[in-house]
Amino acid sequence: MGLYASILTFLVWTRRYSEDGTAKRIAKNILATREIHELLDKLDHDEGEVRKESELAEKEWARFAHEDVLGVVREESSSLKEALGPKVEALFENLKEARRREMVMWLAGTSYVEHHENALQGLLEGTGEWLLKEETYRKWLESEQSCILWLHGIRKFHPKFQTR
């Protein structure tokens, strides 16, 4: 805006100058030179201001544009995440599960659950109650030290019982 006004002022002034008579023009000459210089200076200055402003504006615009793009990217990525997230997670879980299975396979143990179930079959209510009441068993169960309890026996004429 400042630049526009300066240009107009300069134009008005030059028109007026050219309309004036020659004598007047000469008389004015000395003064005019200074005035022109001032005007041109102002013009220069204003131009500089404009350049600065425009540069700023450009930067500002770039920033806005950048933010805009970022926003879009962000939006896109979040919707992408929403869409892909569960799939990626499932894939990750599958991978973990596969790895787990691989390691369990490597350990190569054998089945055990059914052996307990088989052993329990036909177990009559009350069987072995005596064992649970044994002091040795209770001591083993309640001990705060690591220990072994050995259940043995059932061999003809081979009684063996020892305390700690």
């Binding site: 973990k96 790895r99 787990r100 390691m103 369990v104 490597w106 350990l107 190569a108 143990g109 054998t110 055990y112 052996h115 307990h116 052993a119 329990l120 036909g122 177990l123 009559l124 009350g126 069987t127 072995g128 005596w130 064992l131 649970l132 044994e134 040795t136 068993y137 001591k139 083993w140 169960l141 001990s143 705060e144 030290q145 690591s146 220990c147 072994i148 309890l149 050995w150 259940l151 043995h152 026996g153 059932i154 061999r155 003809k156 004429f157 081979h158 009684p159 063996k160 019982f161 020892q162 305390t163 700690r164």
Partner: protein
């Protein structure tokens, strides 16, 4: 019948104890792993497989996602550069198991029928491993093992607390078991095609109890 009962007695008692341990009256933070040895199945008489199965139970239970770090580390160590190694050997299993036990504050391991482990050498290694587990674990480990009174086992477990199954201890159990089995055999017509009079049934039961009481 006598031989079956001899095996069944220990195993039944062990399964009863294990069932109690698996279902404690109050919520206990105690992991339980177990194994039933069996001389009729190759996989159930191998000391290495027993340890590996125990490790497997302790690794998979309680953690839904990945396996414990020490198991993964051992796996990586053994399967370097993508070269597949076989399953961990006995020594590896023992150190891995001790590491695994230290993750938890308390663990109970039940092993039935040590005498059914094949070869004296494997049995000896296994018995020493049990002692090492108890001695080297920094957390609380309770081992419940059962076996016949074979000499090598008796020597190895001589100094540990033990419960000897006296005939009088499980007399009631044996009677219950015999009566039940005889009933079943008659019902299923396995015994004399099911044509057994009450008197004969009594005499069979009595004879069996009499023979069993000396075990």
């Amino acid at each position: 019948m006598g031989a079956i009962l001899a095996g069944a007695g220990k195993t039944k008692l062990t399964s009863m104890v294990l069932e109690r341990l698996l279902n404690p009256p109050i919520e206990e933070k105690r992991a339980v792993a177990y194994f039933y040895c069996n001389r009729n199945e190759p996989k159930r008489q191998n000391s290495e497989i027993i340890l590996r199965t125990i490790i497997q139970q302790l690794s998979v239970r309680g953690s839904t996602g990945s396996l414990p770090r020490c198991v993964m580390a051992k796996y990586k160590e053994r399967n370097k550069d993508g070269i597949e190694s076989g399953p961990p050997g006995f020594k590896d299993c023992l150190s891995l198991l001790i590491e695994l036990l230290d993750i938890r504050s308390r663990t109970t391991i039940v092993i039935d029928g040590l005498d059914e482990i094949d070869s004296k050498m494997q049995r000896q290694d296994f018995l020493q491993a049990l002692k090492q587990i108890v001695n080297l674990s920094s957390s609380l480990v309770k081992l419940f093992v059962s076996s016949r009174d074979d000499t090598d086992i008796t020597l190895a477990l001589d100094s540990v607390p033990n419960l000897y199954i006296h005939a009088k201890d499980n007399k009631d159990d044996i009677e219950r078991f015999i009566k039940q089995e005889v009933e079943k055999s008659i019902e299923q017509k396995k015994l004399l095609r099911g044509e057994v009079s009450n008197e004969l049934r009594e005499r069979i039961v009595e004879a069996l109890i009499d023979k069993a009481s000396g075990m």
